[in-house]
Chain length 285, copies 2
């Protein structure tokens, strides 16, 4: 009997070109560059050889090259009789140590990790020490300039809520081509101190191409005093990428959790067309 299995996946993105499989060929079915999706599909193929060399895996968030995850979600369908609870251990045997299946759950056959609305939680880590800490160099962006957290928190408050985030999207985003828009809801933004590290935690219903990295880059120029917290309002109204701050590097970003049980706000209760648009944005956060 066919079952749909939902996997919760953690990975160190350092050695991967992002989630999404690239240019698959007959010789390199997982694509010519290492990707998380490619590694997972190959591992499943090794675990379940009767079902093919690689088994298609549908991911929730197509994280960008170098981005980490603690709780990305992906699904695959299988006729195997392996008990669901045994999948993490069984799949991990075929995965490199920098990718781990943390959990497996059986879901209904109509569950789709992108189209079913869910809350996304990301964290961006900044090493604000004078010298880069070598133990966090792969997981935090080293930014040496002084930061005023209260200015950053005031700016963050301006971003929380439902807004058109056009100014905070990489112009290469495909969302507009598909008739979509950049209106999203940010539920909360918290800026936490952990020693010399700063953690910016963002929860929302959908993030566009590079949106979080542009938001963080903007908070940094505000925290550093080169822009004012109130400038966020002007940026939002301008709908022009050049008004916001720079895009910070990928390696500070981590997809922490996707919560499918979260309370669905009015903004989330969209029709299928919008769900499709939301899904397309998931690419290259």
């Amino acid at each position: 009997m066919m079952r749909r299995i939902k996997l919760t996946i953690a990975y160190d993105g350092t050695n991967y070109r992002g989630w999404q499989i690239q240019q698959p060929t007959a010789a390199h079915p997982e694509g010519s560059v290492p990707t998380i999706q490619g590694a997972l599909q190959r591992a499943l193929g090794q675990l379940l050889p009767k079902e093919g060399n690689t088994i298609p895996v549908v991911g929730a968030s197509r994280t960008d090259s170098g981005v980490h995850a603690l709780g990305n979600v992906a699904c695959f369908d299988t006729e195997s009789t392996i008990p669901t609870a045994n999948f993490p251990k069984a799949i991990n045997r075929y995965l490199p140590a920098d990718i781990r299946v943390m959990q497996a759950d059986e879901v209904s056959m109509d569950f789709h990790p992108r189209f079913v609305p869910h809350e996304k939680c990301y964290e961006y880590r900044i090493d604000n020490g004078r010298v880069a800490n070598p133990l966090t160099r792969l997981y935090a962006y080293h930014y040496t300039y002084p930061l005023d957290l209260e200015r950053m928190r005031a700016a963050a408050r301006e971003l929380v809520g439902v807004h058109d985030f056009t100014s905070f999207v990489n112009p290469d985003s495909q969302v507009f081509e598909h008739g979509g828009d950049a209106v999203r809801e940010i539920y909360s933004m918290d800026i936490l101190e952990e020693g010399t590290q700063l953690v910016i935690r963002i929860r929302g219903n959908g993030f566009l191409y590079h949106m979080i990295r542009i938001i963080v880059g903007t908070l940094l120029v505000i925290g550093n005093g080169r822009r004012a917290p109130e400038d966020i309002r002007t940026m939002l109204v301008a709908k022009d990428r050049t008004t916001a701050g720079p895009t910070v590097p990928a390696h500070g970003l981590c997809l922490c959790a996707l919560n499918y049980d979260a309370v669905v706000t009015a903004e989330d209760a969209r029709d299928d067309g919008d769900a499709e648009t939301l899904a397309q944005d998931a690419e290259n956060v």
Copy 2:
């Protein structure tokens, strides 16, 4: 004019065979395997070419292969006129990203990082999650069995204070050959929870070969219910390595700080002979 410079050094020990330079040869002046000391001496030689190809560096703690550091200390002597505050940036230019000089201070010519008494603070990290977190896999020991923190804390309390730690020393330790003993003082042991991670923080005046890793291994079998907290007393009295728990892996261990300004207890006020013995123990914690 000759100056002595004290460096505070952080490193990711993953790719190194410990602190201490090994088998230096003419062809490989930094030794045939990568070591922290070797990398530092070579970097200083590149920064200060007039003073030799490599410049001798005396370290405080000869950390073992795979052990990390946030605050190891090393000294070198130089006649250069580079301002002390500029050394971190200048030296880091010649170091790989997994080794960083965090701070430089000029000290008196009779300062010696090992012989001057100092408080040592180490942390051992345990990933107690069901599946190993790929983002901490290089910095925390994955231990899946359930742990009772109160039992571990009760055991830790038995270890705090002045004790003969012979049962918690690797028998290969050279401390006894030199007429030394295993009497040391542990000032404090804290067991902290950080998500699914456990941090065991130990402060003391000196640690013997593998002592912290054996203490942690013993706390784990106690936390897991296979030994009792009170067994620590029997182990201490036995002065027999076989009575204590296993040695946990190196990669969970981090030398966090060496504090030369710490209050010196009566136990620390030893004669030079004992200071020499303490210094020898520093090897391969």
